[in-house]
């Protein structure tokens, strides 16, 4: 009898469990999602580690957000898959003088709400980001003095001073064009709740921290887009993102851990794509007088002590390319002779230290963005081999950024740095009064000239020269350019871009 009662109690409990766990009359289970993804072009699902933070491309500074928004809006110009600047909403452009550019606009373009695209929209959108100093992208566009409407399909963009980077700026997602009349009518807050652009995909839903849904814009001016729906889902945990890919719940899983590369390649139906991204890992060394690294021989010794390829092979499992410059191929002014190469000579490093008077070794403090802890620790080990003791100070991202701005970091700084503008001007990091106090008059002169030089060829040469000097001087020790790691379903054909944006219409079903 007792046993029977115990049994019936268990049964009741099991039923209770079933009742609260599995039945919910309001929601019908939609297990169709998995099968939907195998159904041709009906749905493309891309899993990112982080949610978008905003639908306002001009008030954003995060690539994972731009990567989604690039599908909703168009710019005057864009970068194609190879990084070349090509027409988008402008069919052509011409430089009238050093500070005035004329853009001819594409005709017959409509916004998602049906409004026609005209010159007024360009003026409104670009002047918004050029004038509103609370927007995160303001600093990139504030050199634009004015946008003049010449006629419905012609504008003049006037810059305050000669700006050789204007086209680069206009090709970023922050230069997106909004429908002026509609925007002004509803106001910014309402507009970015239900954003309207001219892009191939229109916004349909954003469940915060869950997914963003875009749907095909049938009247897209470049022809009907491929995919009916696109889901950008948010899966913060790396191993969960990999699991989603392995179970065919997603088509693309971004930023997969290196440890999972083999697992994804071995799995039937998935593979890994590795493509270079703009981030270059580098070690900045202070040249302030009291720092031992002020001596160029010490900086050279540090460079020679590091075996870049070993770090790439062991920690990144090959997903990086050694470099001696920040301006990697695909960027304006790249000095390709300094790319895919590195210098490693620990014996010479020891000699250099001895020459500099540090036979007994030295200690260098290095502040590390904790995102790169593992790499920095290996570098520390390599430096130890030649007699340099590296004291690593690990800093969490926001703390790191704060101390960086306050110029309050140690004599060495281990950091990964991007290049949003795809331009040699990223080297301005090492112009006078910079974070490492590196000072070289020739570098300053070249950088100052290049910043306003409208002659492309000459400007490119100036940046190449700066890269040579920096590599020689070891004003900074460049280590390697990272590669983006994407887990991809075999059902699609996808080549990741250098700028890490998901231009959905470049993604197709595999043959």
């Amino acid at each position: 009898m007792k046993k029977f009662k115990a049994l019936s109690m268990m049964l009741i409990i099991t039923m209770l469990l079933a009742a609260c766990g599995f039945t919910d009359p309001d929601e019908e289970p939609k297990n169709t999602e998995g099968s939907e993804t195998t159904d041709g072009y009906s749905l493309l699902t891309i899993a990112n580690p982080a949610d978008i933070t905003t639908l306002d491309p001009q008030n954003n500074n995060v690539i994972t957000t731009s990567a989604v928004l690039v599908n909703i809006y168009n710019k005057l110009v864009k970068r194609d898959a190879s990084g070349e600047i090509v027409p988008d909403l402008a069919t052509g452009w011409e430089q009238m003088d050093d500070t005035t550019w004329e853009f001819t606009l594409t005709e017959g373009v409509t916004f998602h709400n049906g409004d026609d695209f005209t010159a007024e929209d360009v003026k409104f959108s670009l002047e918004r980001v050029a004038n509103d100093n609370t927007l995160q992208q303001y600093s990139v566009f504030n050199k634009i003095a004015e946008v003049k409407v010449v006629d419905d399909h012609t504008v003049h963009i006037v810059t305050e001073e000669a700006d050789p980077q204007l086209l680069s700026r206009l090709s970023t997602v922050a230069a997106s064009i909004f429908p002026a009349a509609h925007f002004e009518e509803v106001g910014a807050e309402e507009f970015f709740q239900h954003p309207v652009g001219t892009g191939a995909y229109q916004f349909s839903d954003w469940k915060k921290d869950n997914y963003v849904e875009l749907t095909r814009f049938e009247d897209y001016f470049e022809g009907e887009p491929n995919w009916e729906k696109v889901h950008f889902t948010v899966v913060p945990e790396d191993s969960t993102r990999v699991a989603e890919l392995l179970t065919n719940e997603v088509d693309i899983a971004f930023n997969i851990p290196t440890a999972d590369i083999d697992r994804i390649n071995d799995n039937d139906g998935t593979h890994v794509k590795l493509e270079p991204i703009q981030r270059v890992i580098q070690l900045w060394l202070s040249t302030e007088e009291d720092a031992p690294t002020a001596d160029p021989r010490v900086r050279e010794a540090i460079d020679l002590a590091i075996d870049n390829q070993v770090i790439i092979d062991e920690i990144l499992l090959g997903a990086a390319t050694p470099t001696r410059t920040h301006v990697t191929p695909g960027n304006f002014g790249a000095n390709e002779s300094l790319y895919d190469t590195y210098e490693y000579d620990p014996e010479r490093a020891k000699e250099l230290l001895a020459e500099a008077g540090y036979e007994d070794g030295i200690t260098v403090d290095i502040s590390v963005n904790n995102y790169y802890t593992e790499m920095a620790e290996v570098v520390g080990g390599m430096l130890q081999e030649v007699g340099i003791t590296a004291n690593l100070e690990l800093l969490e991202q926001s703390q790191f950024a704060k101390r960086l701005f306050a110029e309050d970091l140690a004599e060495g700084v281990f950091v990964g740095w991007g290049n949003d503008m795809f331009d040699g001007s990223v080297l301005e990091l090492f112009r006078e009064d910079n974070v490492t106090s590196y000072a070289n008059e020739e570098v300053d002169e070249l950088l100052n000239e290049a910043a306003y030089n409208m002659n492309e060829e000459e400007r490119s040469e100036q940046y190449q020269k700066v890269q040579e000097i920096l590599a020689e001087d070891r004003g900074v020790v460049y280590l390697f350019q990272l590669e983006g790691r994407y887990g991809v379903s075999d059902r699609i054909d996808y080549t990741p871009r250098l700028d890490e944006l998901y231009v959905v219409d470049e993604i197709t079903l595999s043959e």
Binding site: M10, T134, Q136, Q399
Partner: protein
């Protein structure tokens, strides 16, 4: 009523001190502006943005402005999302509360029968197993349990979805993950508490009256052993919300825990404040309910 009045009077200064502590910590720890600007922004860009956002005021001016708004019920706007902070929290709160309640439910459903059974069959083989598994359950960190559950029950045996929160079936793995540790703790507690009550004289009396064992266990033993259990449930509920930070991350659950993690990383003061405030309120309410339940369970408890 007096008890309620006193409780409310305690809440106000508690919350006030809490806002100061959180404000101070976020202020010291991070820097929202450098997280918002492009990498190559200049010191000038930075100063401009700081001024535009009112972030260059001294600490106490910022804090007083914050408190002034708070008194009128305005938690401020998120720097990252440009939306009212409280709205961001409230949007995600249902997901977290549901998850926590489900976890709590699972813990109760598992622990009560197991705890009672282990106590009644004290020192038996099954008691040994139950106690052993409880210790194990308490010892396993929940991010590990979560990843293992995904591996076994979503990837190797595709029974449950890997992550997300769309359908009821999505609730299973995350709420089990979050509930395991609590279930383990409660099982041990119930076992101990039941054992203690079993030795009381009124249990002997009930048995000698010839009452059925089932009634004895349920009415005399179980109800009387509930007080420490209620305490644990009351204390643990807010902690579950804390544990949700990990579980929400592992299972891509769109809740408050992940928002908190992101906002701390971005030094998004208004959002961190709003979340801490809401969790504090939940904690206080949970404690009040616990106190009230005590009184129902044992009318001898009086508050002076």
């Amino acid at each position: 009523m007096a008890f309620l009045k006193r409780s409310v009077l305690q809440i106000v200064p508690t919350l006030f001190i809490l806002t100061l502590i959180v404000f101070g910590l976020v202020y010291v720890a991070g820097d929202p502006v450098s997280m918002m600007l492009p990498e190559n922004a200049t010191a000038e860009d930075r100063a401009l943005l700081e001024e535009a956002l009112g972030l260059n005021d001294p600490f106490f001016v910022q804090y007083l402005n914050y408190i002034k708004d708070l008194i009128t019920g305005d938690f401020g706007n998120s720097l990252q999302y440009r939306e009212p902070a409280l709205q961001l929290v409230m949007e995600r709160l249902p997901a977290t509360l549901t998850l926590s309640l489900m976890a709590m439910g699972i813990a109760i459903i598992i622990s009560i029968p197991l705890g009672i059974y282990a106590a009644l069959k004290r020192n038996s083989f099954l008691d040994f197993i139950i106690s052993g598994v409880s210790i194990l359950g308490k010892a396993m960190p929940n991010y590990w349990i979560g990843i293992m559950l995904i591996l076994f029950f979503a990837v190797m045996l595709p029974i449950f979805p890997v992550s997300g929160a769309e359908t009821p079936i999505h609730f299973v793995l995350p709420s089990v993950t979050l509930g395991v540790a609590l279930a383990a703790e409660m099982t041990r507690l119930i076992r101990g508490s039941v054992l203690e009550v079993l030795e009381q004289e009124f249990v002997q009396t009930a048995r000698s009256k010839g009452q059925k064992e089932f009634i004895v266990v349920l009415r005399h033993v179980f109800l009387n052993s509930l007080i420490p259990v209620v305490t644990i449930v009351g204390i643990q509920f807010p902690q579950l919300i804390g544990g949700a930070i990990v579980v929400e991350t592992v299972f891509s659950w769109p809740g408050v825990g992940r928002l908190l993690l992101f906002s701390i990383g971005a030094s998004d003061m208004a959002v961190v404040q709003a979340i801490v405030f809401v969790i504090a309120l939940i904690t206080i309410v949970a404690n009040l309910i616990t106190d009230a339940v005590y009184r129902i369970l044992d009318p001898q408890i009086k508050y002076k």
